[in-house]
């Protein structure tokens, strides 16, 4: 059986691309753990970790060595199978979501017409990581954290999906490459400003980042659902949080800020710059805003954000129909 050599080459190139993106994303998430600490220090008038290596540049290596060599302890009262499975789900579901991101005109793993729906599906699966982790730990705090996380993620995913429907309606496609192509001339943040605001809020909430970190609430729940985790299992939850940050930033860039579009600089540089700016915004949110009470956060989601997205979707639909060739 003979295989055309150019198709073999294409497969190999695609695999190499996918691998490079995987490694790049993981590295970025790992670097963010240190960058976040330095940025928090910057905004809290401190110096931050600057001891390991020149200007603290090797802090990441030290952290990784530490977390890898910690005792990987599974509590005897835990449900072993689920306990081991939960961090895997947490990291894998987020890593899989990166499949759909178009990094540059030529780089990207999957070019699916279901694009965005795949992200929603993976975000939905990510809830199970928290739920199973909290349940299998056999710990009150973990269970409370998991319960909060599940309620929070479910209610915020409702309008996270709805907030992007305006973008989808404008672009006429779930495919992220088509959405980027539709932003020729005008970024979607202008016509979809409400959608941007609500998606940003929902993104912060779904990744359990501050100020929506009630599931982990250190002061009340002593880190919530991953309280019983140690070693690299905890590391996977931890890196997963930053993966979520990177993912939501990359998605916002793709959906609202024109993806890799921009003058003069190469596409990838534009994408990286926009993503970095959003990552900094994530850290700034954590540095600036206190954590609201859980019930207030839920009522904010249902009573403010959901109506806003519905209004946004309604207006978008009206505008599209009004401006369509068929006319009103």
């Amino acid at each position: 059986m003979s295989v055309p050599s150019e198709s073999v080459a294409a497969v190999l190139i695609a695999m190499a691309q996918a691998l490079a993106i995987l490694v790049g994303v993981l590295l970025l998430a790992a670097v963010m753990t240190v960058v976040e600490r330095r940025l928090l220090a910057l905004w809290q008038d401190r110096l931050g970790p600057n001891r390991v290596g020149p200007a603290g540049s090797l802090q990441l290596v030290a952290d990784m060595i530490k977390v890898l060599f910690k005792e990987d302890w599974i509590p005897p009262f835990a449900d072993r199978a689920l306990f081991v499975l939960a961090p895997v789900i947490a990291m894998a579901s987020l890593l899989l979501s990166f499949l759909i991101i178009p990094w540059t005109p030529t780089w990207g793993v999957a070019d699916w017409h279901i694009g965005l729906l795949f992200f929603f599906a993976m975000a939905g699966i990510n809830v199970y990581a928290v739920l199973l982790g909290g349940w299998s730990s056999g710990n009150k705090y973990a269970l409370l954290g998991a319960m909060r996380a599940t309620a929070q993620t479910l209610s915020y995913e409702v309008f996270m999906g709805l907030s992007l429907m305006g973008v989808v309606a404008l672009a006429g496609s779930f495919n992220l490459r088509d959405i980027v192509a539709a932003q020729q001339g005008l970024w979607f943040i202008v016509p979809q400003f409400l959608g941007f605001c609500t998606f940003l809020i929902a993104g912060v909430a779904v990744t359990h980042r501050h100020p929506f970190d009630q599931p982990e609430a250190e002061q009340e729940l002593a880190d919530g659902y991953h309280i019983e985790y140690s070693g690299m299992k905890f590391g996977m939850f931890y890196v997963g949080e930053y993966l979520g940050m990177v993912l939501v930033s990359a998605l916002i860039v793709t959906l609202f800020f024109g993806g890799w579009r921009g003058p003069w600089l190469p596409p990838f540089v534009w994408f990286a710059l926009k993503t970095a700016a959003l990552l900094v915004l994530f850290v700034l949110l954590r540095a600036a805003l206190p954590r609201p009470r859980f019930d207030r956060m839920m009522s904010f989601g249902w009573r403010v954000c959901l109506p806003l997205t519905l209004i946004n979707l309604l207006l978008t639909g009206v505008a599209i129909l009004w401006l369509s060739p068929a006319g009103p």
């Binding site: 910057l42 905004w43 008038d45 949110l285 540095a287 600036a288």
Partner: protein, 179 residues
């Protein structure tokens, strides 16, 4: 509802801006071992035993510091010199117990015991934190430059009889006061 929503959103955005501007402020922390920390002159740190302007020991072993010490970290024994002056035969401060409250300094009638702006006393063994008299004594008068206890006190020592101290009148024979 709507106004509170707008006001709340504005408040959050304003918070973000205010926190962001902290990036350009002066750092509150310093890279400590490389950069020295400023300590004010009255900083309460390592305890020393000072000497009077003549270079003699100020401490008269009155034990007031040991009594004042809330954590009982000071221990001393009295000795008496040939000229009649009292001095501490031993003086021991356990710095692993000391809380640097400065009450010993306040209690001291002779300005002998003083706290200094120095906190760098880390040791690997706890026993090394126990300072003996030789470790505590310094050569100078510390913060109180001119005070000389035996020159103002009424106690008679060799070379200074009663009534010969500064601003002291000669002792009166109380029996001459009888009516």
């Amino acid at each position: 509802m709507l106004t509170s929503l707008i006001a709340g959103t504005w408040s959050q955005l304003r918070t973000l801006g205010m926190v962001f501007r902290h990036a350009f402020r002066r750092r509150e922390t310093v890279s400590y071992p490389e950069e020295a920390v400023y300590l004010p002159p009255r900083f309460r740190g390592r305890i020393v035993l000072t000497r009077d302007p003549d270079g003699e020991e100020r401490c008269v072993a009155c034990n007031l510091c040991a009594v004042a010490c809330p954590v009982d970290c000071i221990a001393l024994e009295k000795g008496e010199a040939e000229d009649g002056r009292w001095y501490p035969a031993t003086f021991r401060i356990n710095f692993s117990r000391c809380i640097y409250c400065g009450m010993c300094e306040e209690a001291c009638p002779t300005s002998a015991i003083q706290l200094t702006p120095d906190f760098e006393m880390s040791e690997y063994r706890r026993q090394d934190m126990v300072y003996e008299k030789a470790d505590l004594q310094i050569d100078g008068p510390g913060k109180d430059h001119d005070y000389h206890f035996y020159k103002v006190a009424g106690l008679a020592i060799a070379g200074k009889d009663k009534g010969e101290a500064q601003d002291e009148r000669p002792p009166r024979d109380v029996r001459t006061l009888l009516p």
